[in-house]
């Protein structure tokens, strides 16, 4: 278990002082029950497909992660070294929980799992990512996704 107080003092200070965007509007979209929703993962863990160009510092672009991508083809290329990677290397679901979502689909808890998921690299200022996130939203809508689980690292 790690909370802010468990982080090194310099990291705590950096986290506390990090400038975060604030928004004048507060969009909130309602939808059907979970059992009828199609769920996709959007992660900021810097995941890429093996052989694809890894993320670099400051990059605001995104990568596409097919849901059936073999686990051996998923790499993590986040710019930061200040988070744990040992969990991910033992179990990709700790960041990209597609196996859990499939089980929830089979159990009827969610309607379905999207065929495609998306990855950003969270060390970049999110304001730089806005256009790309909105582009991903367009793709998600085209794929009939009406529920997104966002996972950071």
């Amino acid at each position: 278990m790690v909370r802010m107080t468990d982080l090194p003092p310099a990291t705590q200070t950096g986290m506390a002082n990090l400038e975060c965007p604030s928004f004048e509007t507060k969009p909130f979209v309602s939808g059907p029950p979970l059992a009828k929703r199609r769920i996709a993962v959007v992660t900021s863990a810097g995941l890429v497909r093996r052989g694809e160009r890894p993320f670099v510092s400051g990059e605001a672009d995104y990568r596409v992660l097919p849901g059936d991508l073999p686990a051996d083809q998923i790499l993590m290329s986040h710019a930061s070294v200040n988070f744990d990677r040992t969990g991910f290397l033992r179990d990709p679901n700790v960041v990209f929980p597609r196996d859990r979502l499939k089980e929830l689909q089979d159990a009827g808890t969610i309607g379905s799992v999207a065929a495609t998921h998306y990855s950003f690299m969270g060390a970049t200022d999110p304001r730089m990512m806005e256009a790309n996130v909105r582009a991903v939203a367009g793709r998600l809508k085209a794929e009939q996704v009406d529920g997104v689980l966002l996972t950071p690292v």
């Binding site: 278990m1 790690v2 802010m4 982080l7 990291t11 986290m15 975060c20 965007p21 604030s22 928004f23 507060k26 969009p27 909130f28 979209v29 309602s30 939808g31 029950p33 979970l34 959007v42 052989g51 160009r53 890894p54 670099v56 510092s57 073999p70 051996d72 790499l75 710019a79 930061s80 070294v81 200040n82 988070f83 744990d84 990677r85 040992t86 969990g87 991910f88 290397l89 033992r90 179990d91 700790v94 960041v95 929980p97 859990r100 979502l101 089980e103 929830l104 999110p126 909105r134 991903v136 998600l140 809508k141 009406d146 529920g147 997104v148 689980l149 966002l150 996972t151 950071p152 690292v153």
Partner: protein
Amino acid sequence: MSALAHYLEAEGVPAVAISLIRIHAEKVGPPRALWVPFELGRPLGAPRDAAFQTRVIVAALRLLEAPQGPVLLEDFPEDDPTGVDRPNWRPPFDLSPGALDGSDRAATERALLEEAAAIRPLHERFVAANRRTTVGLSALGVEECVTLVAASMAASGVPPSSRDYPAGPVQTLRWAVDDLKAYYLEAMSADGAIPSSRQMQNWFWDKTLLAQAIIALRRQLLASDDKRSQAIGRMNLVPGAQVQRLGLQ
């Protein structure tokens, strides 16, 4: 993550963010967020614990069903049971390294290659058991990564110009270091009880020649005239927690 949730929601796509840093979610005010008391890097908490991960996901996804909002920030009530130190843990191999003499390139490379070879059987066991490895960002083999590290150490942290680096030489060096770290940590994860990430990291940074090499590279890149090299040296080689613990400048 919270800002990304806002942008998705603004486009009409309902989104729920898992938040590892509560104060960031509080500042941004996403449409929905579940704060989890887990270590950075583990938004679902416990590796290889499907039941635990499922509880986290369901707690998050249920926020999608809230009839009105915005800004529902709930706290997940459980801690990650794997996030605590194991007092009796011993690493699966003992490298007992001496001091790395970075002044002799051939000797440095030989020592690092021997260390990498010593843990290869464990790494192979990890790959066989998990049917995957996260080594691969640099697209170099483990031995090539070692050679790149040793050659760079012998040239004040500058990778040799004898090869192509599509993403730039220092960026490739950084990915090679990432790959080698993953190789070691996967080998450490091959057998027996898995310790906390802190135990694994402390052991890696205290007990391996590779860590000595990375620390030396960091020192060289920090002294570079090139801003990109300085930035990678400062931020992308040694975790801040280890910089502090080891008293690095």
